[in-house]
């Protein structure tokens, strides 16, 4: 390996390490979704419907997330209301 290759390999990560990073992120995301209760999407839709009775919002204006900690689960609801 020449000195230039060596320098290059320092700055650009190998494609395998890019693959590993991407996999770690997507796998963690999919695992967290796996433990979501089945009713979550339906509940989200109903919450959106209720809010819509009062303000005009799109489906993407509501973020719903379930965080599991050791002794409790926290349901986090983020609604972006129009100006």
């Amino acid at each position: 390996m020449g000195i230039f290759d060596y320098l290059k390999s320092k700055e650009t990560p190998s494609s395998a390490s890019v693959a590993k990073d991407r996999l770690q992120i997507i796998v963690a995301h999919e695992r967290s979704k796996r433990h979501e209760p089945d009713y979550l999407p339906r509940m989200q839709q109903e919450i959106i419907d209720v809010i819509r009775k009062y303000v005009k919002i799109g489906d993407e204006d509501v973020q719903i997330q379930l965080e599991n900690t050791a002794d409790c689960s926290v349901l986090e609801l983020n609604v972006t209301l129009p100006e």
Partner: protein
């Protein structure tokens, strides 16, 4: 008590059937009465890999539908003592396998056999779920490549939630990672995920690493499980994996780049 082992992967074409044939043969070689069941309804292939395609008369679905008895459908392997194959049906009816039907066949087989190997179809839907439902042990076959690793993680999720053991709250299925089609050269070049990369992501114990090998194609051409090839690295790697499955300690091999010797280079080996 028979042990039920599912060979599964999510992604297709990663080496489930090759591994089922090799591992089933390896277990039988240790003197355990073993049957390998092809769960790939409509895409029967285990028979070809095992070299018994011309002896298939009845299949798994015939037994479930009571059109044949188990002993009529089971094919005794010609090379390996204590080894039998139950071929898949070629029917296009994807609902030919029912949970009740599969359960009955497995219960009957469990009276006769020590090990029942279930060669799963690809995917994470019904066919794959049927193959893993009754399992005690899962061998998750993975290639060092992004989509295979992701699908393996998905199948792990299904093993942990949709299997009989999971549904009944029993002790979970014992999970093992089998990394196949491994190219040490490409790993060394940083072009391919390494064993430890895949272990880090999937976080299940490693059963073995099977190198990419021409011997696998040769073995399937001939209808001989590659574990019987006494010259191939892939065959030795499967033997090691079977030993580990039986609780023996075996160091990993074939992970380093092979330096070709002068003669080998000359002969183009």
């Amino acid at each position: 008590m028979a042990k039920i082992i599912v060979v599964t992967s999510g992604k297709g074409g990663v080496g489930k059937t090759t591994s089922s044939a090799a591992i089933g043969t390896g277990i039988a070689l240790k003197g355990h009465k073993t049957v390998i069941i092809d769960f790939d309804v409509g895409l029967r292939n285990l028979d070809l890999v095992m070299g018994c395609e011309r002896r298939v008369v009845y299949d798994f679905v015939n037994v479930i539908n009571k059109e044949a008895t188990l002993s009529q459908a089971l094919i005794k392997d010609k090379r390996t003592k204590d080894l039998f194959i139950l071929p898949a049906s070629q029917t296009r009816d994807k609902d030919a396998l029912t949970i009740e039907g599969v359960q009955q066949v497995l219960e009957d087989l469990a009276k006769e056999f020590d090990y029942i190997i279930c060669d799963s179809p690809a995917g994470i839907e019904k066919g794959a779920q049927m193959a893993l439902y009754f399992a005690d042990v899962a061998i998750v076959v993975t290639n060092p490549e992004v989509s295979s690793v992701r699908d393996s993680d998905r199948i792990l999720g299904i093993l942990q939630s949709k299997s009989k053991r999971a549904e009944e709250g029993k002790e979970p299925i014992e999970e093992h990672l089998l990394l196949t089609r491994y190219h040490p050269e490409r790993v060394a070049q940083g072009e391919m995920l390494s064993v430890s990369d895949v272990e880090d992501i999937l976080a299940i114990p490693l059963l073995g690493v099977i190198p990419e090998s021409e011997a696998v194609l040769k073995a399937s051409n001939q209808g001989t499980p590659v574990i019987l090839d006494e010259e191939a690295d892939a065959g030795f790697a499967y033997t090691d994996a079977v030993d580990r499955l039986m609780g023996e300690e075996r160091p990993l091999r074939f992970l380093e780049v092979q330096k070709k010797g002068f003669m080998k280079r000359l002969l183009g080996g």
